[in-house]
């Protein structure tokens, strides 16, 4: 493999297995995400999507297999995992803003404590990212004073403030009221347009269809089908994918009629 090609690969996952006790949740996942690529992961509940995502920044320790992000093998026991995570932003389903800190401090605390940026620099970067997610002016609010959609956008801004090379999203809109989903997706869409490398677990098929470069369908701990969205979502080859999609898409079709 040439070096030029190597730098084009942001994430390389090889034969990833993960068990919780006797239960094998990931059963051999291979995944390669190119720089600037947006990959959406879809699949039924319990199929291991979150676990896969959490293995990428080793919030879950893989049982076997390797995870390489930007040329660093994160599954190496001697790796400085904290240093590696600085370059990997993660957005959670439940936002996980630091509840004891206001928005600005949520945005700056890791910049200051981890990246050792000065207060002034951290605030400047934090505020710029707050504007980027359309929440300028809300820097002194406490998390519980914000709607779910706003909290999630702050969480995205918090991750972006660390200047990540890769962003992981775990069902970022699943906990939101329907009318708040659009704002968050719009932010993510813009991020994708700006060339961010993104790995997104989502049930938003419309988003996956329009934004993803590639869609992965997972079931029971394996990747069942992958390819461009128009293929995986538009005309799935696998029976399991079709079953899943009809379940996800049908309620919407019923609502349209």
């Amino acid at each position: 493999m040439s070096t030029a090609e190597a730098t084009e690969v942001a994430v390389e996952i090889t034969d990833l297995h993960k068990s919780f006790g006797p239960v094998e949740v990931l059963r051999g996942i291979d995944l390669r995400v190119g720089r600037g690529e947006v990959v959406c992961v879809i699949g039924p509940s319990g199929s291991g999507k979150s676990t896969l995502l959490r293995c990428v920044n080793v919030l879950e320790e893989p049982t076997s297999g390797t995870v390489v992000v930007d040329g660093t093998e994160l599954t190496d026991p001697d790796v400085d995992i904290d240093a590696a995570r600085r370059r990997i932003g993660m957005v959670f389903q439940s936002f996980n803003l630091f509840t004891h800190l206001n928005v600005l401090n949520n945005l700056t605390i890791a910049q200051r404590k981890v990246l050792r940026r000065s207060q002034a620099e951290a605030e400047q970067i934090g505020l710029a990212n707050l504007e980027r997610v359309g929440l300028d002016g809300r820097e002194s609010a406490m998390p519980n004073q914000l709607s779910g959609g706003q909290q999630q956008r702050v969480a995205i801004a918090r991750a972006l403030s660390m200047d990540p090379d890769l962003m992981l999203f775990d069902e970022p809109t699943s906990a939101l009221d329907p009318e708040l989903v659009g704002d968050v997706l719009a932010v993510m869409r813009r991020l994708a347009d700006e060339g961010m490398t993104m790995l997104v677990v989502t049930h938003e098929m419309q988003f996956a269809r329009e934004v993803a470069d590639r869609v992965l369908f997972m079931d029971a701990g394996v990747v069942v089908e992958e390819g461009p969205p128009e293929q995986v979502i538009g005309s799935p080859r696998e029976e399991r994918t079709r079953t899943f999609l009809s379940r996800v898409l049908n309620p919407a079709r019923v609502a349209e009629e």
């Binding site: 990997i88 993660m90 996980n96 630091f98 004891h100 890791a110 404590k113 918090r158």
Partner: protein, 272 residues
Amino acid sequence: MAMSKRKRAKVIRWVQYGILIAVILVVAFTANWDKIRTTFFDLEVAASLFPEVITVGLVNTLIYTGLGFAFGLGLALVLALMRLSTVRPYRWLAGIYIEFFRGLPALLVILAVGTGIPLAFNTFLDKYVALMIALGIVASAYMAETLRAGIQAVPKGQVEAARSLGMSPARTMVTIVIPQAFKIILPPLTNELILLTKDSSLALFLGASITEYELTQFGRVALNDSRSLTPVLVAGLCYLAITIPLSYLSRYLERRTGGKKIGTPESTEVKA
């Protein structure tokens, strides 16, 4: 006899009122009020206690309590972290310490520190230092378990968010978990402060110079001098002036945190 549920409740209530009134009447007519007044609340004696009951007694009570609480909180934090440590001997040591000092009367600890240490090490131990250590040890055993429960009550997502931003486990503990744990355990911590305020009265048993008197000792000495219980009453009122606002504060904090109950140390032990 058939009596409706409502009617029976009414009768029972009236009987209870009746008993209460009877007791009050008996006390009112049999008691020698003049005697009681001079024994319990003699204005002259009360006036003679001021301002020292405040400037010496109350102040020293606050200082002993404050020092003990601060020292105890520091100790409790170390113990709580040891209890949660991955190093097994640390967990054991902290567990033994907690069981040991929770099981002992506070007075015994105060005597052991206040007289034992000077004897054993043949040194002089300042009264304030002795009480800080002794009260701190007593309080820490309780607060350590409270703190541990508080730390465990911080949602896992907070830790994951911090770790995913590149914070080390220690950094996460200090900047994210402990501040939130304190917010959660502020009500029980306030209650511990109330208990400690009262426990500071045990300083009485260490002997002290006049300037070191706290409320109880102050009251007791004045009691001997005046042959009236008034000083005890005044000292009691001073304690209440500290503890009642604290208890309101504690209840307010509990409401403000949404009354979110953290498990008692026992119940988290089961979970852990």
